[in-house]
Amino acid sequence: MSVMQTSQATARELLRPEVLARIRNLDLVARSVVEGFLIGLHRSPTFGFSQEFAEYRAYTEGDDPRFIDWNVYARTERTYIKRYLGDTNSHLMILTDASASMGFGGPPVSKLRYAQFLAASLAYLANRQHDAVGCMIFDEQVRDYRAPSTRAGRLQSVLHCIDHAEARIGTKFDKPFDKFREQVTRRGLVAVISDFYCDTEKLLAGVRPLAWQGQDVVLFHLLDDQELAPDVDSNVLFEDLETGEAVEVAPAFMQEIYPARMRSHIDSLATAAAGIGADHVLVKTSDSLDQALRNYLLFRQRRK
């Protein structure tokens, strides 16, 4: 086995949720995920991501002075910006659902914790590509908000915002999304991470205006394995984490009818998302994070 293969195997280990669950620092999680992901990533322009030098561009007002190549300036006394392949200088807004239903799942990680890993990794990846990153934590209302920015320390602020999200009360998409539209004026990428336990029409009512505003929306539909295939061998009284409603169901229902309903719900969401030009990505909490990041890069590549 070569050194490269060993390194890739170790990096893949780091992308597994049960491994990440042991790391308390979200910043470290994001760094581990992205670095591990990048190690395992084949260099390919198809994915639109690379650290390969592309060109110099004259510095113009508004550019981040950090990217000025001071070596060139020393030789030519002119300011140039160094650009790489994959740099898009775009905006990424990560909208994370922190309703009570997101607290479900695990071990090793609940849906919310997985969503935090994913959001942090996306933020870290985007920041590494010099994209402006912002985030919004919402349930029935906007609970926390960080506007997109490339300023130094913004990533830490975003990670802090994501890390402090807690699962509570119910979910509504219309009100938080309206609020979000009022805040964002510039076009960019919008990643929504949620379990989407809501009526499809109501979700579309919140997402459709974003699409019309010109935002490129990707819906990360996050579900636990127990939601997709519940392990039930006797009568169970299920208690809704958001409403408190209790429903007693038989094992036969959970093994036959419920999976079909869930499949139908996922399909309807995917269809609805496609209808408004948004992407729908189904993510399971047992999946390693590289799959989600890969989907993100594909999505980003398509929208470039």
Binding site: D195, D233, F238, E239, D240
Partner: protein, 658 residues
């Protein structure tokens, strides 16, 4: 339907167990939090209801099983009157069982129970029957009926007591009971027929309502018994009387326990009456518990112990109202009270004009050496003292010896009848020996009276002693709730020589007991006696029996005046005025081995025979047919057990089929 052992029905309370178990089963649906019930639908209800019905069926099965088990142990019987005409009851039978203390001798009571059962069986079917027991009272043990099963159960429930049976009083009570029964009444008397139970008058045994006495004698021959007859305390010494009858050779030990601690032991030889003296017992202040035990494995155990309470209190003060603290009166009275330790009083002189007499109310009784010297406020104080329940022993001294009216008593004083000179004197003429004060005093005839106050007798006066010229010498007068004893002579040894005579000591000690109320209260009782709480200083109180159980309920503690003492031992009495101990012993007459002679018993039987009382005859149902049901119930129980096992196996399988 009735039960032979109905107490086993209480076991049916165990049905709570399956209820509890099935309650747990109904809560079997596991509660589990879930992210959203949006896609769920209640689907288990029908399945659950069906399951619940199964569980209810199994629950009913198990409850029936337990109830049936309790029923089997309770031994149900089905009684059914046989068809046919009503029988004419030929006679009414009273089965009387002696439950007195003497029946505890060896296996006498067990044999009495057997004899009573045989007597019941010997009674012709259809005759009315009632079971009664007798100790110092007659108790009805079963209702009048022809059904013998209930009477057998009533006989089995009887127990021997520690009380004494007097045949006279028992027969009187039975005669009253028999008067209400359909004649003729036959009395089956099961007893050891102790001679000590016979009444003084043989006529008391005869009754007008009982037609026939059928004695069932329980033989108690060749008896071996030790008995403690008494324990008499004298200060720190105790005399113990022990009697052995039919005892084998060899010494037996007598042990003393004082306040539950062994303090002394002695031995007595076999047979006969012995008096043992135990000296210098380590008495504690107040009441001391004394238990005397004869360590013998004899026929009758209940009389092997004797309980006694020894008081160890300092002499109580009794006020002497006098004009001279160092006078002869004080000397005579002090000497007399000290002469008998049983009196336990000492004289506390209160000089007229010097002492504060408002403190009189603290005392139960007081002495006055010269009633004539009382006057003014002191007279009013003494009258109030008497009216409020105090007692006074007053001597009429020289104060108003010639004329006028005596203070307090208000007797008119006439000129002195005696007194011509020192050589003239009168002696005692009449003494009321029936009065408790004078019942045990002797020697009054030796008293010479040279002078006394001649007073006019008033209504309510009770003259206890008269001189030979018929003038009153000692009288008692009730004033309010108190009593006044008035001696119409002084104590100065000039008008009479009473203080110098031996009778004076006995008189003063008896007066102390009589006036203080100590004579009416006692700390030694016999089983069956009533303990009057009021005489021990309290209107009410609580009494704790020798086993440590409170006899009176909380409500009774405020109103119960008398408590019946049925158990030998030391009782604790708590009253608002103080706490006391009371010793209760079995009547020593119950230990007597002597029985009624065959001739006397025949005479008793003969005296009852032929006493026909006419009255309505009774008609009773035929002797009912009795069917025991437990066999059938046991068969059903076995079927139920099998059924429960099958159902339980079916219903309680792991619920994987859902």
């Amino acid at each position: 339907m009735s039960f032979l052992a109905p107490w086993f029905l209480l076991a049916a309370l165990a049905v709570g167990l399956p209820f509890w178990l099935h309650r747990l089963q109904t809560q079997s649906a596991e509660r589990r939090p879930f992210s959203s019930t949006m896609l769920l639908e209640t689907t288990a209800r029908q399945v659950h209801v069906r399951k619940k019905l199964k569980y209810l069926f199994l629950l009913a099965f198990r409850i029936t099983l337990l109830v049936l088990l309790a029923l089997i142990f309770a031994q149900p019987i089905w009684t059914r009157a046989l068809p046919g005409p009503l029988q004419q009851a030929r006679a009414t039978h009273l089965v009387l069982i002696d439950t007195s203390a003497s029946m505890q001798r060896n296996d006498a009571f067990d044999r009495a129970i057997v004899a009573a059962r045989e007597a019941i069986e010997s009674i012709p079917n259809g005759d009315l029957l009632q079971v009664v027991s007798a100790d110092d009272r007659v108790h009805v043990a079963s209702d009048l009926a022809a059904d013998k099963a209930n009477h057998r159960a009533a006989v089995a429930a009887l127990e021997a007591s520690a009380l004494r049976l007097d045949f006279g009083s028992a027969m009187t009570a039975l005669d009253r009971l028999a008067a209400d029964l359909p004649p003729p009444v036959q009395l089956h008397f099961v007893s050891d027929f102790q001679d000590s139970g016979m009444p003084v008058r043989f006529a008391d045994l005869a009754g007008s309502s009982i037609a026939e006495l059928i004695p069932h004698r329980i033989a108690t021959d060749e008896q071996f018994n030790w008995q403690v007859e008494y324990a008499q305390a004298r200060a720190a010494d105790v005399d113990v009387g022990v009697l052995g009858t039919g005892t084998p050779a060899g010494a037996t030990s007598v042990r003393l326990r004082l306040n539950d601690q062994p303090v002394a032991q002695d031995e007595v030889a076999a047979t006969g009456r012995h008096v043992l003296t135990f000296s210098d017992l380590p008495l504690e202040p107040g009441d001391n518990r004394l238990t005397v035990t004869v360590a013998a494995d004899d026929d009758l155990a209940i009389d092997n112990e004797w309980y006694s309470v020894i008081e160890n209190a300092p002499p109580a003060p009794v006020p002497l109202i006098t004009t001279n603290r160092a006078g002869l009166a004080a000397t005579y009275l002090e000497a007399a009270l000290r002469a008998d330790p049983g009196a336990n009083y000492r004289v506390a002189s209160m000089v007229i004009g010097d002492a504060d007499f408002r403190t009189l109310s603290r005392y139960r009784w007081a002495l006055v050496d010269d009633l004539g010297a009382i006057g003014g406020d002191l007279e009013a104080t003494l009258v109030a003292f008497l009216e409020n329940g105090g007692s006074l022993l007053a001597f009429a001294g020289r104060g108003r010896s010639t004329s006028g009216q005596l203070p307090v008593s208000t007797h008119a004083v006439r000129p002195t009848a005696v007194g011509g000179g020192d050589d003239e004197y009168l002696t005692i003429g009449q003494i009321d020996t029936g009065h408790p004060l004078l019942a045990e005093t002797e020697g009054w005839q030796q008293v010479n009276v040279t002078r006394n106050l001649a007073i006019d007798i008033q209504d309510g006066d009770e003259v206890l002693i008269r001189l030979e010229d018929d003038t009153p010498f000692l009288l008692e007068r009730r004033l309010g709730q108190g009593r006044l004893l008035l001696l119409t002579a002084g104590l100065d040894n000039q008008w009479n020589d009473l203080p110098l005579r031996p009778v004076f000591v006995g008189f003063i000690v008896a007066a102390a007991r009589y006036l203080s109320g100590a004579e009416r209260s006692s700390k030694a009782y016999t089983t069956g006696d009533a303990l009057p709480l009021s005489l021990l200083g309290g209107v009410s109180g609580q009494v704790v029996d020798p086993d440590g159980n409170s006899i009176l309920s909380l409500a009774d503690t405020t109103r119960e005046q008398q408590v019946r003492l049925e158990q030998p031992g030391i009782y604790e009495v708590y009253t608002p005025q103080g706490d006391y101990l009371v010793a209760v012993n079995t009547d020593p007459r119950e230990s007597s081995a002597a029985v009624i002679t065959a001739e006397a018993l025949d005479r008793w039987v003969a005296s009852m025979a032929g006493q026909e009382r006419r009255g309505p005859t009774a008609q009773v149902q035929n002797e009912p047919a009795t069917l025991e049901l437990w066999h059938a119930l046991l068969f059903i129980l076995v079927l139920l057990v099998i059924g429960e096992s099958i159902l339980g196996n079916l219903f309680l399988r792991p619920r994987t089929e859902l």
